[in-house]
Symmetry: C2
Subunit: 262 residues, 2 copies
Amino acid sequence: MNRKKPLILVTNDDGVTSRGIKALVEVAGDFGEVCVIAPDKPQSGMGHAITVHSGIRITPVDFPGAKTAFSCTGTPADCVKLGKYHLLQEKPDICLSGINHGANMSLNVIYSGTMSAALEGALEGIPSIGISLCNNRDMVSLEASKKVAKILIETFLHNKPDNNLCLNVNVPDIAFDEIRGLRFCRQGKGNWKEYYEERESENGEEFLWLTGKFENFEKRKTDTDLWALENNYVSVVPIHADMTHYEELEKVNRWEVSWNER
Amino acid sequence: MNRKKPLILVTNDDGVTSRGIKALVEVAGDFGEVCVIAPDKPQSGMGHAITVHSGIRITPVDFPGAKTAFSCTGTPADCVKLGKYHLLQEKPDICLSGINHGANMSLNVIYSGTMSAALEGALEGIPSIGISLCNNRDMVSLEASKKVAKILIETFLHNKPDNNLCLNVNVPDIAFDEIRGLRFCRQGKGNWKEYYEERESENGEEFLWLTGKFENFEKRKTDTDLWALENNYVSVVPIHADMTHYEELEKVNRWEVSWNER
């Protein structure tokens, strides 16, 4: 059987002109037909935002290596919805999001526009990968990440992922030869130690900037994405949208509730 | 011991002037000292967005029933971070988010600004409740939701919740007397059947509006929030930020990976 080439939807949260998405499209082109739908401006820290209070404008753009490409005024999650419900004639075979300039391991997944796009793909039945490089500078080298992306896409397609599979992939910021391999793991527990810096704008208005340092709460555990990255592995965490805290559910089920007294 | 009154942080995603947050502050005032920190404009559908590319401006506001109140240019999650790291002298005892004008059950939790604020609270060690009414009209009656909020806060404080507990509470849009009680449950599986409506702006620009209908994928299961709401219960789902898909993790751990061939 002469199976046609896979249709690959590529998006990101740094915007359609970022270096990361160009690198990802370059790699994706080796595996199938690429369609790009990406935000027209950076959307980092947008979480799983979707546009519900306003309309979305779409603009066709030129994108070397892509068969079709659009930028839009929406969020990363919007881009995937637009692909599935409006712009594409058929469902993509896989959805790729990234390469993000900045880490999305551990708790960061819930703030991540990159991962919201990938998760949106999986929710729509498109197996998805979000790829992030643990360095948020614009001009960082993407060579190692490109090689990792190639191995990942190959591995992904070879192993016939479930339609609802979403992988959160983080690449340590080191040379490819120093990377020890892929490591499938769970989302490690950690959080930002944060504070706000007081600054003043040119016209004298005071405002606050969020700043902080990430802390690993499970330093001795070796099955987390935090451990993998600290030990020069690429971390690969399958994620889903079920946020139920089942242990707490057992506890609250034993709560005293005085509803009937009312 | 003469324990002082609990400090209650109240926020939302519909903005500081919405009717829902006023109703919640009114109820919260019966239980402790209220501090309001809320967005200065509606933030629905913002997911777990945080402000990282710009500064945040804070304005003290008058808010009947609150000891202190601020509006800010940030997101719901920002509001809680601002409370913990900047505006409050001590950690709040509980954090309340809502009352949201619109349902946040099932998958909607990942798009919800209301729940991102509550989850942010729990991540910062403040037990939290997000409360949503299953009706997104502005002028809806909030009487039943206020009574439910009162029972919930009482139940919450009485049962001494874990510091990381976050409850996603949805109230069916019916009279209080018709509500059958609280039901602790898991997040049901479902999704939007969506499409985009093409519209034209006044100056002739084309844009797209997201529209759709929610579908319950587990109609026969009685342990979900979707079932609870359809059967006139208040749904109460404990949530957390661990998005690891553990079943898929077992599967991908058996994948063939050809990393060493490179």
